[in-house]
Symmetry: none
Subunit: 639 residues, 2 copies
């Protein structure tokens, strides 16, 4: 199959507006969809001045069943509780989520929350951030009560709730099957395309249903005027421990560009001072700070190496945010700011928003913190692809037989019935298969109605995954001005707007680009600006970082794509993260486990290089192997 990709590129000039060709077509099916999905039944009441608050002055619960939740403290399933306040908030909200799922409802049906806070500091309302992220835009009524203590002295936060419980709807009747085969794959990213190849090779038939009008998912490469390509999604690979994705590069004749690490890197600290340092060295802080930084870095490296890649298991680490972990281990403010650059550049997250265990395991999956962060041989950012990484998916897709990949085919429902067949509805068509592999990012699972529902633990996991903020802003210049000043183009900043900058030039194409990683809180602030403001604030930062002036003259254009508005990515990128407690309470395998004839792939389910293209490919191989084994076992059993 080949998708006519040309028309898309023509529009990439202004990529700031999220764009979905399938939109109109989709809406004609919306009736079908909402009748089946859990409907949001709680409505908010607002006064003239309340609409901008993250909670509502009142909500109206629908007639029907109502769930009343007992006060939930921030403890793990075994009762253990971290001493850190923010970690407790995360765990309490997770407990609330577990109950909501167990009771058959959802966040959108929360009518009322009561928050009980010990040692409340009105000047530092740490809870707001986490409650807001938990609510994902839903606005229940909330009452906050500072209290002197809670039922157990170590409890610092407790939440109780009232939640509407919508009637459970019947499964849709998917009678007119349009196509039957062995396997339906949802998603034509690297995981889905890889799985398809493996299935076909083993003699099974399959179809890939892809919501977008293109293949590649979170790899997306756009041509630049006058030649060259930029990657709006994934860009870097390496040729050693990322063997699967490197094999794809070779197979489809992609040219690799080695990341430039010659010359100085530069660090911008809290007060805005920028200091160059040799790539690979520690920035020149005072001796105490350097020692603390080295010690924290080495501790993280050691702690991550100690974890099992696939099934991380450490209750203590999972009960803490990464920030609490760092603070408990004596991280200085500089070490904390440095670690913040790590989480921002790798996940778009701030350390207080994610589980220490999750982050350390994420590092481990890429071979460790140091390797994952390295721009050199064996590192996560060693090689780029001149044609763009979407070439891998385009290559995989075009080497599949005609008719396997269905574009503009967003899956709305997956119905497993007793009769061994599993039906998938995408748009107006229904596909019946013996197995289904979904490769959709976990937050995008919400857009699919599963019947029966996914197991509670999987629902809780999928609901608990969060994206940070992460946008690459590709700044194209007339010349590599930074090189002339002895910089390799790598910069890190404690204050932003860009947290990390990397050179992404293609000398062959005479394209000189600095890719700015806009992420975490500074990224969010920057995203709130208009396009001209975004550009000028970035140019100003680049001038400071690379001791340049009047960059406006060098500047050609900025290209960005807001994955945060992309439904099919699950409203974010590059990979989800977990808040504390999810792994400890649910088990590290939860997302990956198949249920019935439904199998789970996608880079989040990977062991090695989770969150990366390499992980995506490996997850596709793993899921295909599961399916092949399952179907073959089935066959011999039936003989």
């Amino acid at each position: 199959m080949t998708a006519p990709n040309d028309f898309r590129f023509a529009e990439l000039g202004d990529l700031n507006i999220p764009y979905n060709r399938c939109q109109l077509w989709l809406e004609s099916f919306s009736d079908d969809i909402t009748y089946f999905k859990m409907t949001k039944a709680v409505t908010t009441v607002d006064l003239s001045n309340t609409a901008s608050a993250y909670y509502a002055p009142a909500t109206v619960a629908p007639a029907g069943k109502v769930i009343h939740v007992a006060g939930q403290p921030g403890n793990l399933k075994d009762g253990s509780i971290p001493s850190d306040y923010e970690s407790q908030i995360h765990l309490a909200l997770l407990n609330l989520r577990r109950i909501i799922v167990a009771a058959g409802s959802s966040i959108e049906n929360i009518v009322k929350l009561n928050l009980y806070i010990v040692n409340y500091d009105a000047a530092n309302r740490k809870h707001t951030r986490h409650i807001q992220r938990f609510l994902r835009g839903h606005r229940p009524a909330i009452t906050l009560l500072p209290v002197p203590q809670l039922a157990v002295p170590s409890w610092l936060f407790e939440v109780d709730a009232i939640i509407a419980r919508p009637e459970t709807s019947l499964p849709p009747i998917l009678s007119n099957v349009n196509q039957t085969g062995d396997v339906v794959i949802i998603g034509a990213g690297l995981a889905g395309l890889t799985a398809a190849h493996d299935l076909l090779r083993s003699g099974l038939s399959c179809v890939i249903l892809e919501a977008r009008d293109r293949v590649g998912g979170k790899t997306w490469s756009a041509p630049l005027n006058g030649g060259g390509t930029i990657d709006l999604g994934a860009a870097w690979i390496n040729d050693t421990n990322q063997s699967k994705v490197y094999a794809l590069a070779k197979r489809f004749g992609a040219e690799v560009i080695e990341q430039n690490t010659q010359g100085n890197a530069v660090l911008e600290v809290i007060n805005g001072k920028c200091t160059p340092f040799a790539y690979g060295e520690l920035p020149n802080f005072d001796e105490t700070t350097r020692q603390n930084l080295a010690q924290i870095r080495d501790m993280c490296e050691a702690d991550c190496q100690a974890l099992d890649t696939c099934r991380p298991d450490d209750k203590l680490l999972d009960s803490l945010t990464f920030e609490a972990y760092l603070r408990f281990r004596g991280a200085s403010e500089v070490a904390l700011a440095t670690a913040t650059v790590w989480t921002r550049a790798m996940l778009g997250q701030d350390p207080r928003d994610i589980s220490a265990l999750y982050f350390l395991n994420y590092c481990k999956s890429g071979g460790g913190l140091l390797q994952m962060r390295s721009d050199r041989k064996h590192g996560g950012q060693y090689l780029r692809i001149r044609q763009g990484t979407q070439a891998f998916s385009l290559g995989l897709a075009s080497s599949l037989p005609e008719g396997i990949v269905k574009l503009c085919a967003p899956v709305h429902s997956v119905v497993q019935s007793g009769d061994q067949s599993i039906k998938v509805q995408a748009g107006g068509a229904v596909y019946a298969a013996r197995k289904v592999i979904t490769t959709v990012p976990s937050p995008a699972l919400k857009s699919i109605a599963f019947h029966p529902k996914l197991p509670p633990a999987k629902q809780v996991w999928a609901e608990s995954t969060t994206y940070g903020y992460y946008t690459k802003a590709m700044m194209e210049f007339r010349s590599p001005f930074w090189e002339k000043k002895g910089f390799c183009g790598l910069a890190q900043s404690f204050i932003g707007p860009a947290s990390v900058v990397r050179e992404t030039c293609s000398l062959e194409d005479r394209k000189y680009v600095l890719t700015c990683f806009m992420s975490g809180d500074p990224g969010r602030d920057w995203a709130a600006l208009s396009t001209p403001e975004r550009e000028s604030s970035l140019l100003k930062q680049l001038e400071k970082l690379f001791a340049a002036s009047n960059l406006q003259k060098e500047f050609i254009q900025m290209t960005t794509y807001e994955w945060v508005h992309d439904e099919w990515a699950g409203w974010g990128c590059p990979c989800t993260a977990l808040t504390p407690g999810v792994i400890a309470n649910l088990g590290g395998d939860t997302l990956r486990e198949s249920c019935g004839n439904l199998h789970f792939a996608g880079t989040e389910t990977a062991g090695e290089w989770k969150g990366y293209m390499e992980g995506a490919v490996r997850s596709g191989e793993r899921a295909a192997a599961e399916v092949i084994k399952g179907l073959q076992a089935g066959i011999s059993a039936r003989l």
Copy 2:
């Protein structure tokens, strides 16, 4: 009538398992029953690790009406409030109960409780016990909030609640009346049988509907191998102030055995030390302790004598638990432990669980604390019955005309309609009468659906009565080993497992038995053991108490019956008690008052010797007199 009682005795060898011959037969009617009773509509949500908690992490309220209860402090109807925390908890829960009943719901429909506690002590969570007893196994969601103060400075505890209100069901249509008469009596215990005799004597017709396959209710006598009898229920009477029951003994030729008080009693104190003392004296504590003990005892005696037997009225006393009353009056720990032996031995209760007024009035009804506790002439434990006390009921029953007592006839509903007739459904049969006398213990009223509902005050009373834990363990030995050492067999213990031990030998039958009163908290702990553990822990205690060794060699068998599992006793014995505030808020007559053509008897409604067989007989006489008067008045009015 005569019930073939022989087959029952054959099975008494292992009485530890509650046993109900009518069970199977009953179940065939269960549909009828549940359609009429208030159904439990609130469901609990549990996570994998929460099911053992006494509250649920969440509950689901059914669609329908919902009751919201304002914060209830622990005050009496007139606003007065005790300064004692636990007393306040009782009163607040009573207020909550009054509201629930007034709003037409029940404890089982509580969806959520919020507890607000001043001076909260996480290490000593006194509220748990009382909330748990209040909930009787129902598990709402609960949030506990320690607070610095409440609306009124003296309030230490407040509770608010959300409660589902089930639709009120229609009365059952009891059209096919199987039998008509003047009076239906519910229950063939001493109260019901006595009432029947009086009614017949006055020329009225009646029928007794009895749920069990035997008469006698809480009197139940079992033969021992090789002769002699033990009483699984009531055992002691006297021949002076218990004139009614003594008359029965004489009438049916029962032989009485005088309780042995010759020789030493023994006391086991907190540290496990056992000291003999002469029966009737105070144990030999130090002088201060003896003085305090005597003073507290005399104060209780004086306070109880000051009360009206039938209509006790003392707001202050009723606002306090018996424990708070004792502490306010300066009881030492030894005095408190002694008083705990009283409440345990008399009611199976601990002093913190019951109203001071209720306990003192209970004493008064038996002639005072000292008389009630006495094993000598005029005392509550002066005489036993060689044939067992069930002989009274068996005698009464067999002297009634054939067909009056219907066994295995559990009453499910009582319907009073405008046409002066009152219908009673028992199993498949319907009886119509002009009057009904119920003698069922108040907690067992729950098993009967009344239409119209009982008046709110009566419902609240019936819901507020509680049983403690109370089981007699009859330990049979080859010889009265304790007598040889100069003991009379009476022992008291502050620590248990047995709180009190009394000799219950029958020398004529060569049966040597120590009856151990397993009650209150130590009794509950003991009840959790296996039968061999129960036996050996009791033998160990008896060895200590009576300075014996190797009792296993003397030991023949242990006989117990768990009234706590007996539905027709109302799941407990020997008599219910009340928490603080019930009498003060509702009035002392509440349980006893007739409503419409429904009259209330049973030992709980007695003035004198409430809780005893004597009280049961008197209550039967009183209710019969009410009915006779009412029906005769009716006749003359119609003339």
